[in-house]
C-alpha cells in the first residue's frame, strides 16, 4: 500500500534542472503573491504571465519524474532530516493544484474589478501564493515535520483568505473555521507527538518500518484521523463548511473546495496507510459515514435556497464518495485488482471533483455577479441571457453527477467495479443513489433558469475571460474522464 505513495528506498537523485524546478514550484508562488500585494494587478495578462513560470516548473518536474523515476531530496537542518520526494501521485496532485490555482488566479482580477471589494483585497495575492506553496509542499513531503508545517501554513492561509470579504457573517464563519482548524491541528500535532515519542522518528519510511499495531498507534491514528477529518470537512464534521463558503469570495471558495480540503484527505489516506495497514474498523467506519455523507449532502443541497449553499453541501456529498472508497484502499484482504481499481478511482474522482468544483464555483460566481443575487430564485429566466455561465455550470454538474463523458463518471465506474468485485453492495447502492440525488439538486437549478415566464431585469455584464476560464476547467474535467488512461499511468509508477 505504502509504495503507492512513493514511500520506498529505491529512489533516484534528481537532475540539476529538477532542483531549480523544485525551488520554483515551492517559492515562486509566494514571490509572485508578494508582488501581487504591491502591484495589485487588475488585468488578466500579468497574472497569466506570473502563472506561466510556475506551471513550466511543474511541467519540468513531471517530465523528469517520467524519465528518471521516483525522486528524492534530503537535507539535514539542525540535526533533523527533512525529506521530500516526487512520486507519480505527487506529480499528478502537483499538476492539478497548479493548473486549478492558475485558473483561479486568472479569474480573480475580473472578479475583483466587478465586485469592488474593500481595502483588504491586497492580502489576497500573498495568501493565495502561500496557499499554493503549502499545497505543493504537502504533495511532496515525506516526513511528519514538513507535513505538519505545510498543513499549518495551508490552514492559516485558507482562513485568512476566507476572512477577507469582511462581511460580519464572513468574520463569524471564518472565526469558527479558525477555531475548528486549530482544534484539528492540535489533534494532529498530538498524534504526531505520540508517534515521535514512541517510535523516535518523523520520517515516514522509517516510521512505516518501525510502527507496530498496538494501542498507542491506534490512539495516534485516531487523533490524526479526527484532526484531518475536521479539516477536510468529512461528515459529520462538516458543519463549518457551508457558512464559510456562503460568505467568501468566489475565487477563494473555488480554491478551498477544490484543493484545500483535498490536501487533508490526502494526508489522512497516507498516514493511515502507514499506521493502520490491513485494519478493518477505522476505514469501515469512514465508509459508513461516507454513505451518510452522500445522502445528507445531497438532501441539504436539494433543499438549499442559495447557490453557494448548494455547491458547498454538494462538496460534503462528493467527499462521501471518497470516504466510501476507504476500506477498498486500506482494508484487509482486498485482492490486487479491486485494490488497484479503487486506488485509481479514488484519485481520479478527487481530481475530477477539484476541476469541476472550481469550475462550478466560478460559474455560480458569474451568475451571482450578473444577477446581483445569490438565491436560486434569482436565476429565473437566466437561460436566455447568461447561457454560457449556465452551460459551464451544467458541464461541471455532469462531472459531479458522475455521468459520462466526465472524470466523475470514469471514477465512479472504477469504484463501482471495485465494489462489485469485493461484493460491497451497500456501497454500490450509495454510489448509485448519490447520482440520483446529485441530479435532483443540479436540475433544480436548471428548472429555475429555464423559466420563461420570469420578469426581465438587467444583468451586470461580466469581465472578459471570466467565463472562458471556468469553461476550460469544465472541459478539462471532461477530458480527464475520456483520457483517464494517461494520468492513471503516472499513478502506477510511471518511470520507476
Amino acid at each position: 500500500m505504502i509504495w503507492r505513495f512513493g514511500l520506498y528506498d529505491n529512489t533516484f537523485d534528481p537532475l540539476w534542472m529538477t532542483d531549480w524546478a523544485l525551488a520554483a514550484v515551492l517559492l515562486l508562488p509566494m514571490v509572485f503573491g508578494a508582488l501581487g500585494a504591491v502591484f495589485r494587478p487588475s488585468r488578466l495578462l500579468p497574472v497569466a504571465l506570473a502563472c506561466l513560470p510556475i506551471l513550466l516548473a511543474g511541467g519540468v518536474m513531471v517530465l523528469d519524474y517520467q524519465q528518471v523515476g521516483l525522486l528524492r531530496w534530503q537535507w539535514e537542518v539542525a540535526g533533523i532530516e527533512l525529506t521530500l520526494r516526487l512520486s507519480g501521485l505527487s506529480a499528478l496532485m502537483l499538476l492539478i493544484t497548479q493548473w486549478t490555482a492558475a485558473a483561479v488566479a486568472v479569474y480573480t482580477p475580473g472578479y475583483l474589478r466587478l465586485t469592488l471589494p474593500n481595502a483588504s483585497v491586497r492580502w489576497l495575492w500573498p495568501l493565495m501564493g502561500l496557499l499554493v506553496s503549502a499545497l505543493s509542499l504537502i504533495w511532496l513531503a515525506a516526513d511528519l515535520l514538513i507535513l505538519y508545517a505545510a498543513l499549518e501554513s495551508m490552514g492559516l492561509a485558507a482562513v485568512g483568505m476566507l476572512l477577507l470579504s469582511g462581511k460580519s457573517a464572513a468574520l463569524q464563519a471564518g472565526m469558527r473555521y479558525l477555531l475548528l482548524a486549530l482544534v484539528g491541528s492540535l489533534a494532529f500535532l498530538l498524534g504526531v507527538a505520540l508517534l515521535m515519542s514512541q517510535w523516535g522518528t518523523l520520517d515516514l519510511i522509517a516510521l512505516e518500518a518501525r510502527v507496530e499495531p498496538e494501542p498507542l498507534t491506534w490512539v495516534a491514528a485516531a487523533l490524526i484521523g479526527a484532526g484531518l477529518a475536521l479539516k477536510a470537512a468529512l461528515f459529520p464534521l462538516h458543519g463549518w463548511l457551508t457558512p464559510v463558503h456562503e460568505n467568501a469570495w468566489t475565487p477563494v471558495s473555488a480554491l478551498h473546495a477544490a484543493l484545500v480540503i483535498k490536501a487533508s484527505l490526502y494526508i489522512l489516506m497516507m498516514l493511515w496507510g502507514i499506521l493502520l495497514p490491513e485494519t478493518l474498523f477505522a476505514p469501515r467506519l469512514v465508509a459508513w459515514l461516507g454513505m451518510l455523507a452522500i445522502v445528507w449532502g445531497g438532501l441539504v443541497a436539494w433543499r438549499a435556497d442559495s447557490l453557494k449553499t448548494l455547491i458547498a453541501s454538494s462538496t460534503v456529498g462528493q467527499l462521501g464518495y471518497l470516504m466510501v472508497a476507504f476500506p477498498l484502499v486500506l482494508g484487509p484482504n482486498i485482492a490486487p485488482l479491486p485494490l488497484s481499481l479503487a486506488w485509481d478511482g479514488f484519485w481520479l474522482h478527487l481530481m475530477g471533483h477539484a476541476l469541476a468544483k472550481a469550475a462550478m464555483f466560478m460559474a455560480a460566481g458569474n451568475l451571482i455577479i450578473a444577477t446581483g443575487e445569490s438565491s436560486l430564485k434569482a436565476l429565473a429566466g437566466t437561460s436566455r441571457r447568461l447561457p454560457l455561465s449556465l452551460l459551464i455550470f451544467g458541464m461541471a454538474a455532469v462531472t459531479l453527477m458522475g455521468l459520462p463523458p466526465s472524470a466523475g463518471f470514469t471514477a465512479k465506474w472504477l469504484l463501482l467495479q471495485s465494489m462489485v468485485l469485493t461484493q460491497q453492495w451497500l456501497a454500490v447502492a450509495a454510489l448509485l443513489a448519490g447520482t440520483l440525488l446529485t441530479a435532483a439538486y443540479v436540475f433544480r437549478v436548471f428548472r429555475y433558469s429555464f423559466d420563461e415566464t420570469a420578469p426581465r431585469h438587467d444583468y451586470q455584464p461580466l469581465a472578459p475571460g471570466m467565463d472562458a476560464v471556468a469553461l476550460c476547467l469544465a472541459v478539462a474535467a471532461f477530458a480527464l474522464g475520456l483520457l483517464a488512461h494517461f494520468p492513471l499511468g503516472l499513478l502506477h509508477g510511471g518511470g520507476a
Binding site: P404, T410, L416, R447, F450, A484
Partner: protein
Amino acid sequence: MNAAWLPLTTLATSLFAAVIIFSLPEEARRVRTYINLLAAVAKILLVIVMVGRVSEGYEDTFSFQIVGGVDFVLRADALGVMFAGLSSLLWLCTTIYAIGYLEGAANRKRFFGFFSLCVTSTLGIALSGNLFTFLIFYEMLTLSTYPLVVHAGSAKALAAGRVYLRYTLTAGVVLLLGVVLLYSLTNDHSFASEQGLSPYLDDHRGLLTLIFALLVGGLAVKAAMVPLHGWLPRAMVAPAPVSALLHAVAVVKAGAFGILRVIYDLYGIELSVELGVTTVLAVAASITIIYGSLRAIAQEELKPRLAFSTISQVSYVVLGVSLFGPFGTIGALAHLLHQGLMKVTLFFCAGNYAEELGIHRLDEMDGAGKRMPLTSLAFTVGALGMIGLPPTAGFITKWYLGMGAIEADMYWVVAVLVASSTLNAIYFLPIVHRLWFREGPAHGKGQWPKEQSLGRLETHGWLLWPAVLTAVISIGAGLLAGLPFSPLDWATRVAVGEYLP
C-alpha cells in the same frame, strides 16, 4: 484497410456543429442555418460512404483506451450503419422543419445547439462498438434532450422535464449497474465478438439473467415499454420538431436499438432463448402494443394520440427481436426504420396543423384536407402505414413479423398483431375520415381555431416539404422494398449476418 477516421468524422460533424452554434451569437440566424444544413448534408454523405464500406465487407473501427480494460470503440457495422442512416436522414428533414417552425421564436441558439448534441448522441449510440461506449452516448442523449423538452419554459414544460429526468436518469443508473456487473464478469466484451456470452452460461446463469433484466429494464424506459412509459406522453409539450425527433429516432429508438444490441450482439440470440428471457420480453412487448393502442383511442388531442401510438409501435421492434428466427429479426429491423419514417411524417403534419390552423384537438380537424391537401396527404400516408396497409412500408414489417411468429410457433403473437392492427385502424381511420370526408371551416362551416397564413403554399415551405419528403420516402420504402439498399434489403443483410455468421 481500416478507415478509423470515418466513424469518428461522422460523429464529429454534428458535434462540431453544436460547438459552432453555441459559440455564435443568438442573432446569427443565417449563419446558424447554413451550419445546420451543411453539417446535416455532410453527415448524410459520410453515412453513404459508410454504407458503401460496410457492403464491401469492411468494419471501420476507431478505438482508444479510457482506463485499463475499458476501451472507447466506434465501429461501423451493418446494424449500426442502419441506425446511423436513419438518424442522419431524419436529422436533415427535422432540421429543415425546425428552422421553419422556430422562425422568430426565442432561444434558437440553445435549441439548435442541443439539437445537434442530441443527434451526436444518437449517432454515437448507433456506432458504439461496446457497451461502455454505448452507455456514454446513452447518458449524453438524456442530458442533451432535457433542454429540448423544457424548451417552452412554461410550468407545464418544466414539470414534464422533471418527470422525464426522473424516469431516464433512474433508468440510466439501473443500466450502469447492469453494465458494471457485466464488465466485472466478462471484462470488455465487444459487440463484434462472434461468441456471445454463452461461455458463462453454465456457471453464472442467475447472474446473466439478472444482468439481462437490469440492462433491458434500463433500456425499456427510453423505449417507453409499459409500465415505464409515463414520461413520453408528458414530453409532448416539447416543440413539434423535438417530438418528431424524440419519437422517430432519438430517445425512443435509442432504447429499442439498445435492446437489439443486447440481444443480438451481446448475449447472442441462442443464449437469450436459452435463458428464457425472450419469451418474457415478447409478452411485455405484446402488452405494451395493446395497451398503447387502447390508450391512444382514448385521447382527444392529436399529439397525445400519436404519443401513445409510438408506445405501441416501438414495441413491435422489441417483439420482432424476441421471436427466434430470421423473419422476426428482419421485421424488427425494418420496422425500426419504417416506423421512424412514418412517425416523423405524422408529427410534422401535426405540427403543421397546429402552426397553420391552430388545430390541437381531433374534432377541430374536419375538412382540413381541403385547406391543406399536401399535409393531409402526407398524414394519410403515415396513418395507413401505421395500420399496415399495403403498399406502405408499415405493411412490409407487419408481414415479416407475422411470418416470424409463425416460424417461431408463437401463434398468439399473430393474434396480437391482428388485434393491434385493428386498434390502429380504430384510432387512425377516423382522423383520415375527418380530414377528407367531413365538412369543416374550409367548406364554410365554422372557422379554424387560430388560422395564420404562413406562406404562399398551404403553409410555410420549410414546414411542408420535409413532411412531403418523408411521406414519399415511406411509400418508396414499401414499393421499392425489393431493391438493393432499401430498408428491407439492409435489414435482411443484418439478419442474415446474425443467423449465418
